[in-house]
């Protein structure tokens, strides 16, 4: 459940932060963005929006790596039983052979 919540928060942030940065630049929420020429507004708003998306991704990766590792993966018990049975079956018929092999080598 926690995993889902973290993922949804990260997704929502990824959408809202760059769009907020873009609109902030265009509607003068940041102090001093009114005095820049149109070209610089485009450049800086675009670059800052892309950087903010990458920051959100990095923060999500860091928080995902810090999660405690969950319990080890248990193989399916039926599959395990079938595998063991097939190995025993393979070893069974061949256990009678070593004595006859020794006889042949002499």
């Amino acid at each position: 459940m926690e995993v889902m919540i973290k993922f949804l928060i990260a997704s929502a942030l990824m959408w809202t932060v760059p769009i907020a940065v873009l609109y902030g630049f265009n509607h003068n929420f940041f102090p001093g963005s009114a005095s820049l020429s149109q070209e610089t507004v485009t450049l800086w708003s675009g670059i800052l929006a892309v950087i903010s998306v990458n920051m959100v991704i990095v923060l999500y990766i860091i928080s995902a790596m810090k999660e405690p590792p969950s319990d080890k993966h248990e193989p399916d018990p039926r599959f395990l039983a079938d595998a063991k049975a097939s190995i025993k079956q393979q070893l069974g018929p061949t256990e009678g052979d070593p004595s006859s092999d020794r006889a042949k080598q002499e």
Partner: protein, 167 residues
């Protein structure tokens, strides 16, 4: 060669630059979302789902968001131009600049989304086999998502020059 009345040069000159801009904005967001949807699913019978497995999904989503960012930037660049100046060379240049920027971003995001999607599915599969492989394949995925980043940067730089003629 005589320039007939239906040569390519005249056709390109008669198409309004707004056509190119509008088509381009659509391509930028549409194609990059198409790329982001290429997270080819890999289902494993592993009882755990942790945040680590969802990192690939976040990378694919970032590709779509690059397309949205560029589409918003480009639509703020569309200005109204008086009727007499629609076919002015400067306004044609602005129309082509917007179109070029969008094609760059759209197709770069398309291939980036494909790349990240395929790497992400193999990342999930190898993590289920052997947990130590996860970080190594994640590094490859980070390089893959840099492809989309390059496209966005070039697209933004080209579109920064697209200014329509003043009245």
């Amino acid at each position: 060669m005589v320039t007939s009345s239906s040569s390519w040069a005249r056709a390109l000159l008669q198409i309004s630059p707004y056509t190119f801009s509008a088509i381009g904005i659509a391509i930028s967001i549409g194609v990059s979302v198409l790329g982001a949807a290429c997270l080819i699913g890999a289902a494993i019978k592993a009882p755990r789902i942790t945040s680590k497995n969802l990192i690939s999904v976040i990378f694919c989503e970032a590709v779509a968001i690059y397309g949205v960012i560029v589409a918003i930037i480009l639509q703020t660049k569309l200005d109204s131009v008086p009727q007499s100046k629609i076919y002015d060379p400067v306004s044609l240049r602005a129309g082509y600049a917007i179109f070029a920027s969008e094609i760059i971003v759209g197709f770069a995001n398309l291939v980036c989304g494909l790349c990240v999607g395929i790497i992400g599915s193999s990342c999930a599969l190898s993590d289920a086999q052997n947990s130590t492989l996860f970080v190594k394949i994640l590094v490859i995925e980070i390089f893959g998502s840099a492809l989309g980043l390059f496209g966005v940067i070039v697209g933004i730089i080209i579109s920064a020059q697209a200014t329509w003629p003043m009245k």
